[in-house]
Symmetry: D2
Subunit: 301 residues, 4 copies
Amino acid sequence: MTLTPEQEAEIAEARSHARPTLRATSEGMEKHLYVAHEVLDHGFIRVIDYMGDDSAIVQAARVSYGAGTKHVQNDEGLIRYLMRHWHSTPFEMCEVKLHVKLPVFVARQWIRHRTANVNEYSARYSILDREFYIPEPSQLAAQSTVNNQGRGELLEGAEAQRVLDLLRDDAMRAYDHYEDMLSQEGQKGLARELARMNLPANVYTQWYWKIDLHNLFHFLRLRADEHAQYEIRAYAEVMCGIARDWVPLAYGAFEDYRLGGVTLSGKAVEVLKRRLAGETVTQETSGMSKGEWREFEGVWG
Amino acid sequence: MTLTPEQEAEIAEARSHARPTLRATSEGMEKHLYVAHEVLDHGFIRVIDYMGDDSAIVQAARVSYGAGTKHVQNDEGLIRYLMRHWHSTPFEMCEVKLHVKLPVFVARQWIRHRTANVNEYSARYSILDREFYIPEPSQLAAQSTVNNQGRGELLEGAEAQRVLDLLRDDAMRAYDHYEDMLSQEGQKGLARELARMNLPANVYTQWYWKIDLHNLFHFLRLRADEHAQYEIRAYAEVMCGIARDWVPLAYGAFEDYRLGGVTLSGKAVEVLKRRLAGETVTQETSGMSKGEWREFEGVWG
Amino acid sequence: MTLTPEQEAEIAEARSHARPTLRATSEGMEKHLYVAHEVLDHGFIRVIDYMGDDSAIVQAARVSYGAGTKHVQNDEGLIRYLMRHWHSTPFEMCEVKLHVKLPVFVARQWIRHRTANVNEYSARYSILDREFYIPEPSQLAAQSTVNNQGRGELLEGAEAQRVLDLLRDDAMRAYDHYEDMLSQEGQKGLARELARMNLPANVYTQWYWKIDLHNLFHFLRLRADEHAQYEIRAYAEVMCGIARDWVPLAYGAFEDYRLGGVTLSGKAVEVLKRRLAGETVTQETSGMSKGEWREFEGVWG
Amino acid sequence: MTLTPEQEAEIAEARSHARPTLRATSEGMEKHLYVAHEVLDHGFIRVIDYMGDDSAIVQAARVSYGAGTKHVQNDEGLIRYLMRHWHSTPFEMCEVKLHVKLPVFVARQWIRHRTANVNEYSARYSILDREFYIPEPSQLAAQSTVNNQGRGELLEGAEAQRVLDLLRDDAMRAYDHYEDMLSQEGQKGLARELARMNLPANVYTQWYWKIDLHNLFHFLRLRADEHAQYEIRAYAEVMCGIARDWVPLAYGAFEDYRLGGVTLSGKAVEVLKRRLAGETVTQETSGMSKGEWREFEGVWG
């Protein structure tokens, strides 16, 4: 596991002091505070702080829409209405701060989501630990032959073993040399900001990451998707579980309208209407390209 | 005052239930929660929620800089170091959510700060109240004769009275007609989204506004400044007091480095160095334009 | 019309000097440069500058996806693929700058889109013109009885006339008093930043507004929608026409996948699948709320 | 050099077709279009597109401030006024799009600036080239003994050679193994999205990066600063030269007020005033901490 006894003691300590607050609290989220959820071989996600709960979303919406929201009888109905109609601002009123440990190549995908706040461990100031992501054999997949960014069949036997050996040996050697270059025994020792460049993209880094609920959902829609790379999806799925406990009504609406939802083009709407009217429609008569048709058929069969 | 007895009862109710939390809490901020701070004649600011405290800033910085922060001996020193060197991301780790009631012309300036979340009362859905900002006589200033965006001398006597009468009468008449247009007695009643266009810019609106501490400080630097319009400055000053109670160390650093700080151009640095070396420098020998020199002399005399 | 002869001469002058450039140009957009498209009674939209064209989107995508994009045979196919899969960053590589004249209540909705750059005419520095939006009789609608934010039937006869008279008279009186308060004949004259508060929300303002194509499409999806208020939709529709001429392939994809598209919840997907399989589904057996069902039936009949 | 003959031919081709445009053009910037400015050992910066020039800044400011800007007699004076008073929005009206090739560890610092648009070469879709940053001997510095994030003395002799050998050998070996893992000769070949994790942080990537002038200046203030890591500063300095040619007046103001400027805390202002009045002030009597005093003395001697 990824935590040292010192870290576990720190977490226990942090969880031992409840303080009174007048703020909105989420019982489901209090259970997560500070606890480390393991991800991949050395990574984790920890909730460090949060702001708001389902009722905060409702409260913000009622400020906006005033009497206009009275006809929606309950909180769940209102939250589903907001999600369905892309009223995103009430969801921005909730915020979460996570402590995440993750491989650098995952961090590079993650950071592309710009509407968030980040404090990352700096390898200019400090020395990175000897921790590298090495995939489970069940994740050692070949390049997909149909999808340029996807994975295909599993590697097996000698090929799998050789890949694992290369990844592990190169990482260890790179780290040995990183230490050698930094070392000041009998020498000056290379600047940290330079030595780090020898480390491969599976080295672990960590950061504090803070984001509002609307943007978290946007992140999760893209990164908990089956087309996302497995390694970032592993983090997204843990965050889905956390969000479900934090804001169960909002998460339920997100699950139905976004994760489980489908966006149809105008052409696709027409094809479905023709089918509902009993017509047989083929790619040729659909007006769609072959690629679109393949994706359409993937959903509607 | 701006609160109805119902609203006061709601606030008392909200403040009567403390709940236990494992999150960071700020005692100074807990005192502000839900309480309405009056601003102008009908406005207010209320803290609805917050995330983080001074220690959250320190904690985020230590994640980033790791061992690099150990030589800074205490939290205050580290926070001042971060502020001095424009390390803004640790300050982004704190967040505050306010409920603000304010005149529309103030709201229009305020909203220009884009890095914040807003839910405003919608006059498309709901009917605005009959509340308008009418300046105190002590704020009824003439157009400045030296500054295109400033105020000069106070209006007096008949002129002051005439202005107050015009503002008040026009606002009341506009609201009467707003109500008349909306009225459905014996008629259809104009759509709210249209009727509202008759209301002047001193009508009050309200919103939930959520912002991180770094961006709040940026807002306050511009809006608590003496060049800001008095009416928005009145809100900024209340927020300064709230921030001081919430994050006293960060606010202290902000006060010293930003509110009380001065930015010098390269030319101004040269002039000061020449003066420190005993030279007499005039505008003609300073390399500055007349405008720059006037501002420079305003600080350095 | 809204332009003075001086303004028309300025536009003609600006359009008379073509300069050579090595940048990507869009012939369809060059025709729009500086020309004023009239909107509402005194408003306009003018294209002041733009960056990029359809090929810039393709070029950026090919940098990202490298060899991965080669199997998409043509630019249109690639642009449609990007739009379908929510790959938004290539669309961010195009930018447009508009000069817009619009009523303040429209500006207040518009500015809620934060990811844009704005320079608005400042009524602190300068004096606003005597121009107010007065709706066409064909837009004088009653409050909807089924939709809290919508318009219902048209007002007619005396009621319509009374509304028009109130809007026009109040605007003129407010402006007369604005001028009186500013006047320095025999008095000091109220500061502009104060006097402006007397002006109603249908007074015209103007701004430069710059936005990238991805965010423009997001704006247009919300504001060219039939649920948007007519007055902002009038601007959105002009912008749709401009975008069509600027980036015809991207606009075509936007029209099919966003404007003409439909988002289905997981529940709605299930209902459609059951219907395609021949089952009769009612609201009671759909798992949807009444509101959702009404919206679903609105599309699928 | 970093360009292949094919790339050079492409650039020459792109520069051979001038088209007429009615947009603002910057002659200084036209010279840069498409040309590759070399940075580090394999990197480059190329201007791909731009929007606006000095006059676009002035034009946007005059829309905002209207008559209020008339007293500033010329464009340079107005631009300097805007810069001095932190009026950032007119600078946001200019935009530039760059094609940059850079080592991954530089890209990781760079991307922390969130207010920009990016399309990066994807190593999920495509295979990276065998190009790694290896520092010049003149950049092989030891860890600073006084600054946790800085560089100190140069490494020399055997230590320097050993570091260069390690960096070069590890990079080559990592790339060999990357190719081996991807290879499909007699095996399935590991998915690209996994194989890339073996590559160290000095491998080169590339992206399209688009940013407005205000945010570019903010980036340059931080990254052209002597405290920035040399490798990103090398890029920032090339961009400074480009900006100088593009918007000479704005760049001049930026150079004077930001790059060459100094921010003083309230305490520092007091100390300078006391010194100007003839008083001798020491750290003990300054009210500053030792760290602040050291930095203050660094400027004021």
